[in-house]
């Protein structure tokens, strides 16, 4: 026996005396071997985390890894590049002092001597850009730029190249503070902030009328200066972003780290395309929406920190697909609420109420992913703010209800729908079988009543759900009605799952009673002999989703498995519903990749069954949804998933997902070259 064998055998003897006896017997005279093994056993029995966790790579020393990459050298060269200094002259401009520095370049206050003597702002672009192309793009817009004449726009004056071949831009000098900073420093109230924001909209509108899109609206490009004690916002850098425009690639992100990342938070979804095709005035409206969001809540819609840390593909995905929390919700969950409220001259209690409703709608309309649903013009945005300030009804409507409704109709074309059922299904994604049952009750009184209550109290789940619970308590509803009511209650609870109310005993009570109702429903829908029926299955499915929604994945998962009995797996509709239930549960478990993975795999089982009974078209669609969830929830785990799936259409689909987008992108690049 060698050292390893003796060690292993001894380790399996728990009793110390027996172990010692064993060692003495096996090692015989070899005391060195014995002490070596004893030492090893000692270490092994005092086992800690040693080597159990994966090693990490540290970014502090990323140079060790990146040094081969010329990109790194390029960066280093940028840092060491010759810098222009005050006192130097560039063309007719004498540099006076540096007033700013960004990822794109350095800004100087400069003195123009000819043809007029005046002070200007001069921005010198950092090396690494094609000067000719930059200037050509600027020249193309110069005519339009000179036509701009607006008190809230800093005029673009000139552009050229330095002796070292770097492009520079000259514009009207604005001695101001970025708008967000100005508002906070002066503790402007929400109303004052809005009043300051309106002229910004008008300025951008003016530019749009001259055919100029800014493309890079953000606080540092909207400076507030005081003239005669009046705060005047001025939009700077018109024409610059477009002239400097580079196609958005991982490279541009990296080489201009600070700059582009800083801008990403204000970048519209259509700008966050690798092949950014058409950017128009509505992109500016989106950026204005971000700015408004920040002025109101103190943070950008997508968390800065999160965007900064996100991997490239993830970053684009967030901007393109993720809906930010509405401003009032963001503010209620903010950790620095007292500070935010204070700098807006209000109280933590009041600020949410002030923003909730109209201002939420105005902001969210500006931020719509679909630019067709944003305000058509900046004036439209300004007018709606004006309406809010003068207590008139705003034109922006709730983006969620109308929009979700439309989406739902699109998804379920051909179905005729009762209002009450829609309200529930919109929020819950109920399955087809459930759906058909519910359709039958659209005329029923309680359901309608519940829907009315729900609509009237939209946003206040406690009130809605309590009232609906009361209807439930009357206990004179049909089973199907009860099911629908349950879903309504649940949807309101679920909508608020992030709110602090979650800790309250009412919340717990509500959850318990929801489960109890499901149990009763299921029990009542068994047949005379106590066997399950189609109805009891539907209710069980619904309960499983409900369980998952409220975090009881163990029971939910067991239920999903239990529902997959051979006798139930012959109906296409039912398989489809089960698959969707898995998808919904997986979504609920998105913070727990293993669980989500489990649900998704189970869902795929159902879909495979569906394929077997020859409903390929629909199954493919559903499968895509499943895969989408997998891809969304766990990129790393998806690797294992892919291995498990091993089918071309699936892989193609995942490649089209933003998480794996770079693979797909490189394909399209290939075609271009």
């Amino acid at each position: 026996m060698n050292e390893l064998d003796i060690f292993s055998a001894a380790l399996e003897i728990p009793d110390p005396d027996a172990r010692a006896a064993f060692l003495s017997a096996v090692c015989k005279q070899d005391s060195q071997l014995k002490s070596r093994i004893e030492e090893l056993l000692d270490i092994a029995t005092n086992d800690d985390d040693f080597m159990e966790r994966a090693p990490k790579i540290y970014s502090e020393i990323a140079e060790g890894i990146t040094q081969d990459f010329s990109l790194h050298d390029q960066l280093a060269a940028t840092e060491d590049a010759v810098q222009e200094r005050p006192g130097e002259t560039i063309g007719p401009y004498k540099l006076l002092q540096q007033i700013g520095e960004g990822g794109m370049g350095v800004v100087f206050m400069a003195e123009q001597t000819t043809p007029v003597k005046r002070r200007v702002a001069l921005k010198i672009v950092k090396p690494g850009m094609d000067s000719k192309a930059v200037l050509a793009r600027f020249e193309a817009e110069r005519q339009a730029l000179t036509l701009m004449d607006h008190p809230n726009i800093a005029r673009a004056l000139d552009a050229g190249t330095t002796e070292t071949g770097r492009p520079y831009f000259v514009m009207e000098l604005v001695k101001g503070t970025p708008i967000t900073k100005y508002c906070d420093e002066h503790k402007l109230s929400l109303r004052q902030r809005l009043e300051l924001f309106v002229p910004v909209c008008h300025a951008v509108q003016h530019a749009h009328q001259k055919g100029i899109v800014h493309r890079d609206l953000k606080p540092s490009n909207i400076l507030v200066a005081e003239y005669d004690e009046q705060a005047v916002p001025k939009v700077i850098d018109f024409g610059v972003a477009k002239a400097l425009h580079q196609p958005l690639t991982e490279k541009t992100l990296f080489t201009q780290m600070g700059q582009v990342i800083g801008t990403l938070e204000y970048m519209s979804p259509e700008q966050a395309q690798v092949n950014e095709l058409d950017v128009d005035t509505r992109s500016d409206i989106y950026s204005l929406g971000v700015l408004l969001y920040e002025l109101l809540t103190g943070s950008t819609p997508h968390d800065k920190e999160r965007l900064r840390l996100a991997a490239w593909e993830e970053l684009l995905r967030i901007i393109r697909h993720e809906d930010p929390p509405i401003p009032s919700k963001r503010i209620s969950t903010s950790g620095t609420l007292p500070t935010i409220a204070d700098s807006r001259r209000t109280t933590p209690g009041k600020i949410g109420t002030l923003i909730r409703g109209d201002l939420d709608w105005i902001v969210m309309k500006s931020l719509d992913k679909d630019r067709n649903r944003r305000y058509a013009t900046c004036s439209g945005l300004a007018e709606d703010i004006h309406r809010y300030l003068s207590d008139e009804p705003v034109l922006a409507r709730s983006p969620s209800q109308a929009y979700r409704f439309r989406k739902f109709i699109q998804r379920n074309r051909g179905l005729s729908i009762g209002t009450a059922a829609v309200a529930a299904s919109l929020l819950l994604g109920i399955g087809t079988t459930t759906w058909q049952m519910l359709r039958a009750i659209e005329g029923e009184r309680s359901a309608q009543e519940a829907a009315t209550i729900a609509n009237r109290n939209a946003g206040n789940w406690q009130r809605s759900s309590q009232r609906i619970s009361e209807i439930l308590e009357r206990n004179q509803n049909s089973q199907r009605e009860t099911a629908l009511l349950l879903m309504l209650v649940e949807s309101y609870v679920a909508q608020q799952s992030g709110s602090p109310n979650k800790e309250t005993s009412e919340y717990d009570e509500l959850l318990n009673s929801i489960q109890a109702y499901y149990d009763t429903l299921i029990a009542n829908s068994l047949d005379e002999r106590g066997y399950p029926t189609a109805h009891s299955h539907v209710y069980r499915r619904q309960r499983a989703i409900s369980l998952a929604r409220f975090g009881d994945h163990e029971t939910a998962f067991a239920e999903v498995i239990a529902l997959a009995q051979p006798e139930t797996l012959t109906s296409e509709e039912w398989l489809f519903d089960l698959a969707r239930a898995c998808a919904l549960c997986a979504q609920e478990a998105k913070d727990k990749p293993e669980l989500a993975h489990g649900y998704a795999l189970q869902g795929i089982n159902f879909i495979n069954k569906l394929v077997e009974i020859d409903r390929q078209e629909r199954a493919a669609e559903e499968r895509k949804q499943e895969l989408g969830i997998v891809a969304n929830t766990m990129t790393t785990a998806a690797a294992g998933f892919l291995v498990a799936v091993r089918s071309e259409p699936d892989f193609e689909f995942l490649r089209s997902r933003p998480e794996f987008g770079d693979v797909a992108d490189s394909d399209s690049d290939q075609e271009k070259n």
Partner: protein, 214 residues
């Protein structure tokens, strides 16, 4: 898709778009090499390592670039991502084939981590570049670059004594495989894998303890 070899890829590093393209082309290469290995071409395995090595470095570098200072990457996640990127998962691989990939990836990852630890040591001595202030709390226990270095040295000694056990450590620790996966890749029983892992950990810990006591 044109065939592009490693030499070409080395000649034109840097442009961030390119590695992605390369990953696509490598995907074919890696898959082909794996199937050659499966068909018994022993020399093919040698061609796999540089490919995986480059991809892992590239992945790490692009990821780290975007992270703020102080961020870390999990080696295991990188290895699995590399697998996804390099191997055409549509072409069925036996687990044996996957095992070859992970063996190469584990060795590549070990080299990268050791190289990184060396670099760290240079920085500490104030050698090249600027001084890096790292938060000491970030480095705990076995994650510390220093101890990667020590683990690697100890592992070399273990390898001289029992190469199979050392290989297991490489797969488990640097490649991020579970012991079950290690067992399949090394064609040993799961029970043996567990036994060997316990032995290797104790052995390495003792060895490292000895070193630092000296």
């Amino acid at each position: 898709m044109p065939e592009v070899g490693i030499s070409h890829w080395r000649a034109q590093p840097g442009l961030a778009k390119e590695p992605t393209l390369q990953a696509c082309q490598f995907m074919g290469d890696a898959t082909r090499i794996l199937s050659q290995i499966e068909q018994g071409d022993a020399a093919a395995a040698e061609r796999l390592l540089p490919l995986v090595y480059e991809e892992l470095r590239r992945l790490a570098a692009t990821r780290l670039r975007r992270e703020k200072s102080g961020q870390t990457l999990d080696a295991t996640a990188l290895v699995h991502e590399a697998y996804l990127r390099l191997v055409d998962v549509n072409k069925a691989q036996s687990f044996y084939g996957r095992g070859h990939f992970f063996a190469a990836a584990a060795e590549a990852m070990r080299r990268i981590l050791v190289e990184q630890a060396r670099h760290k040591a240079t920085l500490k001595k104030g050698g090249s570049h600027r001084q890096v202030d790292a938060d000491p709390d970030l480095f705990c226990d076995s994650e510390k670059p220093d101890s990667i270095f020590e683990i690697d040295e100890a592992l070399a000694k273990l390898s001289a004594q029992n190469a199979a056990v050392a290989k297991l450590v490489e797969l488990k620790f640097f490649g991020g495989l579970t012991l079950e996966e290690c067992a399949a890749a090394l064609e040993i029983s799961v029970r043996t894998a567990h036994r060997n892992w316990a032995y290797a950990k104790a052995w390495l810990k003792r060895e490292i303890g000895k070193e630092s006591a000296d």
